[in-house]
């Protein structure tokens, strides 16, 4: 049986089924128009009719009972052309809603929160350390021990005058006997007879931050000659220890941050593999209709980038809220004497603009990490599949 026989046999049904609209559609099909076979032209009408014999069910009739009034949403929808709406949002090729997807968002939220808290803590430590170091290195102290046979007040005066003559020192403040005793009160209490005790005296030297460091060796030599009981403490040893401790804390924090980010990357890689296993059929179909690996990787990357960005922003947002709450609580706590001491030692919990920027950056770092890890995982998996 030839095709012409078939056409003639079923031609009635073909002509019966065709509508003018469908006929136009056939005529404007470029494949049909470009066909060089002369028989093609004769078959156009029949071709369109073949499939139309099984018609789509008609649209349900409009309700005749109660009239459905347009809602505001309907009006808004009608105001946007249908095609434009579709163009704006095509369905993602990787299904958006899945249990593994939601679990991944939660994992990313938690990981980003931890990473942001770590980054914020590192920033707090770094800021506090810099503040301590600056305070400590801006001052030096001359300590003058009492010794029998020497006039302590005269020694204090001599030491102060020697210090005033040194370049780079812009302030010399000798502590009075009462002030020196008050410094010991927190440790020894106020009930002790300080008059009968050999309480050393100190002279605090403020350094000019704009000038170069004073000649400490010369000052020490002159002090040793004029006031043998005086010692000059430039706090360098203390400052060095402090810097080492703060540096170690920052390093620990950065290591924790790196570990959290690595764990996040691994979680994303596993989630991607899981998602790919669940969408293997989709990937197969995409390959068979001519999708390149790059296209499939782009689809997965877009999917996980949005997921990572969403999770990252939520996690960082929670971290920002946590730091704001900690800052508010610490400012209330600072009103107490204990709070002041803690603040003097550890600084405040208030994160500066640089800290908040770091926390927000973590969200984008996590999103970027998600995109990179996803792409690599997808390519590796596609290689396995193909």
């Amino acid at each position: 049986m030839s095709s012409n026989d078939m056409s003639s046999n079923d031609g009635g049904s073909a002509n019966r089924a065709e509508t003018p609209q469908q006929g136009n559609a056939v005529r404007s099909r470029p494949a049909i128009r470009r066909a060089s076979d002369p028989a093609a032209s004769a078959n156009r009408e029949a071709l369109a009719g073949i499939l139309h014999e099984e018609r789509a069910p008609p649209e349900p009739p409009a309700r005749t009972g109660r009239t459905r009034h347009k809602t505001l949403l309907d009006v808004l929808k009608d105001s946007v052309p249908r095609a434009r709406r579709r163009d704006e949002r095509q369905t993602a090729l990787v299904p958006e809603a899945s249990i593994s997807g939601r679990a991944l968002v939660i994992v990313v939220v938690i990981m980003t929160f931890l990473a942001s808290m770590t980054a914020g803590a590192v920033e707090l430590i770094a800021t506090a350390s810099a503040s301590w170091s600056a305070d400590v290195t801006r001052e030096m102290t001359i300590q003058i021990r009492p010794r029998s046979g020497r006039d302590l007040d005269a020694d204090v005066k001599t030491a102060s005058e020697l210090a005033r003559g040194v370049g780079g020192i812009d302030g010399v403040r000798p502590y009075s006997k009462e002030e020196s005793e008050r410094l010991l009160e927190p440790w020894l209490g106020s009930a002790l007879p300080f008059d009968q005790m050999p309480v050393p005296r100190i002279v605090v030297l403020s350094l000019d931050p704009k000038a170069s460091l004073p000649d400490l060796a010369s000052l020490k030599r002159r002090l040793a000659e004029a006031v043998p009981t005086a010692t000059l403490d430039d706090h360098r040893q203390w400052s060095a220890r402090l810097a080492t401790m703060a540096g170690a804390l920052v390093l620990v924090g950065l290591t924790a941050l790196a570990l959290v980010l690595i764990a996040t990357g691994l979680a994303i890689a596993f989630a991607t593999r899981g998602a790919m296993a669940g969408t293997r059929e989709i990937i197969n179909v995409l390959h068979l209709v001519g999708a390149e690996d790059r296209f499939i990787a782009d689809e997965f990357q877009r999917h996980f980038l949005m997921m990572g960005l969403r999770g990252g922003l939520i996690g960082s947002g929670l971290a920002v809220l946590a730091f704001l709450a900690a800052g508010a609580l610490s400012s209330r706590w600072n009103a107490t004497p204990q709070g002041e001491q803690i603040e003097a030692l550890f600084g405040t919990f208030a994160l500066g603009p640089r800290g908040y920027l770091a926390v927000i950056c973590i969200a984008f770092v996590v999103a970027g990490l998600t995109a990179i890890v996803t792409r690599r995982t997808v390519y590796r998996n596609l290689r396995d599949i193909t």
């Binding site: 078939m6 649209e59 090729l93 299904p95 390959h287 001519g290 690996d293």
Partner: protein, 227 residues
């Protein structure tokens, strides 16, 4: 539509296929598919029709022999080249393989979308084709609500949207009643007249008896061609 001149679209030369260390499921397969030709690929269930189509699509690689696809030796085809070659082939699966999370419109537009074309560039063409296959009113519903015949038409539309040079149809009439099977056969015959080479895999002899065409018969792992 692109044309490959006189050279064959597909050529198999002494192709063999085995899975792992098992026996050869296909052996010494040699045949060709010419441009604008029509052939049935037939054989009993389990004879390897789908496997043969997978070899044409390069979903499977032969363990021996040579497959030439659009004048390209399959051994030298890279993954990206393969994607480009597959864009010249339309494939209709027995189980349709429509993506349930996309609408019918998006399913049919999929081959164009994966080529990176913007939706506005192909929208009219897809809508036109959907109307042409009688799914104009169903284009915004997911395939899950379509009837079997509608799914079949959507799958056909997806295969045709790129105006393929070669159309592979794997048991396209396996899930439909005889009248629809006859209409589908007529459609493939008419498409063939318009220039598309057709390979219609079926084991339905009643269907094959309705149209006199070349038959590639698979039996016991070997192929016999009846011109």
């Amino acid at each position: 539509m692109r044309h490959s001149g006189c050279s064959n679209l597909v050529r198999f030369e002494n192709v063999g296929l085995r899975y792992g260390m098992g026996p050869e499921v296909l052996r010494d397969i040699s045949f060709h598919i010419a441009p604008r030709s029509f052939q049935f690929l037939t054989g009993p269930s389990g004879s390897g029709k789908t496997t043969l189509l997978k070899l044409v699509l390069q979903q499977l690689r032969p363990t021996r022999g040579t497959i030439t696809l659009f004048s390209r030796n399959s051994a030298s085809i890279t993954q990206d080249d393969l994607a480009n070659l597959r864009r010249r082939i339309g494939i209709i699966f027995q189980d349709f393989r429509l993506l349930d999370h996309l609408t019918t419109y998006e399913n049919v537009a999929l081959p164009l979308r994966v080529q990176g074309k913007s939706e506005s560039s192909y929208r009219n063409e897809v809508v036109e084709l959907l109307r042409w296959v009688g799914l104009g009113e169903r284009m915004h519903v997911p395939p899950i609500v379509l009837s079997g015949g509608e799914k079949q038409r959507a799958a056909i539309a997806r295969a045709l949207i790129v105006r393929p040079e070669l159309l592979l149809a794997d048991e396209p009439t396996g899930n439909v009643d005889p009248p629809l099977a006859r209409r589908l056969l007529r459609l493939f015959v008419e498409l063939n007249k318009l220039g598309t080479a057709i390979v219609l895999a079926t084991h339905d002899f009643t269907l094959m008896d309705q149209f006199d065409a070349r038959r590639i018969v698979l039996a016991e792992g070997q192929v016999h061609v009846f011109e």
